[in-house]
Point group: C3
Chain length 195, copies 3
């Protein structure tokens, strides 16, 4: 009798069916039920198992929030450039009043520093979090990692753009680094035999 | 009788066998044929299913093109530094004519801005596109997303390096952001239950 | 009789069981043993196959080392800012002695250039290496790719921060780019049919 351990793709499953906090992303019964088996048997191109992994889905959620946050910084940078009339390129200045607006501005530079710091820290998280999710961590612990990083980075951006008093920004940065170091060390522990 | 839903690795499949635009990456018949089954049964280390996913392969193609495009900007930056004799480090200037060439140059800065803008936008795409590919999207719609982003970013680079009249560059940037926002929203819709 | 080709998650396997340099990440016997089968049958949420892929694990190891290297540059940058009293934000300067320390410093800028160059090169590697690992490359050849990149980037950072004589840094950069171009071309070869 044909049996598959490959679970259904997310699109065929109601979100409510996901099992949180148990380390299982599919009800155990469904994985062995004849119905599930025959459904899987008819499916020629199953989605990768990653998307069945509740930890990975949680990681994906927080990562996408942070990427959207970075897009918002880019939009704010553009708005500040227009408001302060400070353009990085002569052709932009010419279109917006004249070459005298081809200049730097401290508010624009502040936005750019916030954006750059995000690149330095959020992009590595996109990697570390994805690999860590595949290491079969405790879902509760994993989500604490992702949540702390996400909140830390959002506070970092707010502290940067609103010039909050030091060391608010540095503390937010340091707190957000803790889950990253934790994930990096766990990945190294798991992968060192393979170097 | 043993049955597996795990398809053959790409290296054992002729590219022509891939099924485009159907949401299936393997012919349904092959997945159930006894031959496929026994071949899979002998395979100890199957390649991940991702590489059986035509949408993911398409995403990979466009992403690699864009990464090569970024490498080209880096090479151009180096060439402009040599031609304009403007080096970021004293040790580079010393090797290329003297410390007076340790200086900034507007053409070099232009290349660096183009490169930085790519980092701000192409790196998030590498994440969003990969996750979106795993969400089982319509292959045709997915490839439109990737294609628009890829063309938008190539036009952005050309407009930046050739100083095309504003707002060519900004329009290319905005057009390329549309598929990114679309993918980000679809990922959030799929993963919000898992936050 | 239930049969699964999905191997056990790494956490249930002793690292010593991994088979190096054979292209197999699981002993073939185990994949077909009744014990393995029943263990897999009880598992509802298997880890993705990626983590069974010795090449992918090796890639993950080197990538994490390089991300930690980038974190070290960030920490060094902060230390140089404090030692040279050169802060990027007025609020930081105010907390560290006064607004006169809101200024640039060549040593700080050097750290920032090293960090930025890492972003330009290590982040694309995180993508190219992951996809390349899924293409079923020879494990020995793959690890040579990862090793050369890793060593090249570490030498690049050392040459940058210690101002080693040119062209040490450029040579390290160029050597590290070789495996990246090789992986990019192999990915393009594999994915061009899917554009």
């Amino acid at each position: 009798m044909p049996v598959s351990n490959c679970p259904d793709p997310p699109s065929r499953r109601k979100p409510g069916e996901a099992v949180f906090g148990t380390g299982q992303s599919l009800p155990a019964a469904q994985a062995r039920s004849p119905l599930a088996v025959s459904a899987a048997g008819d499916r020629a191109a199953p989605s990768p198992k990653m998307m069945e992994n509740a930890v990975f889905m949680s990681f994906t959620f927080y990562s996408t929030i942070l990427i959207l946050k970075m897009y918002v910084i880019a939009i704010i940078t553009g708005q500040v450039r227009l408001r302060k009339k400070a353009f990085a390129n002569p052709e932009d200045a010419l279109r917006n009043g004249g070459l005298q607006y081809y200049r730097e501005d401290p508010d624009v530079e502040r936005c750019r520093r916030a954006h750059r710091n995000d690149m330095e820290n959020i992009f590595p998280f996109l990697f570390l979090g994805a690999i860590y999710s595949l290491l079969d961590p405790s879902p509760a612990v994993a989500r604490i990692h992702f949540f702390i990083f996400c909140v830390g980075r959002i506070v970092h951006t707010i502290a940067y753009l609103l010039r909050l008093k030091a060391p608010t920004r540095s503390v937010a940065y340091s707190v957000a680094q803790l889950p990253c170091f934790s994930m990096a060390l766990q990945i190294l522990l798991a992968t060192t035999p393979y170097w």
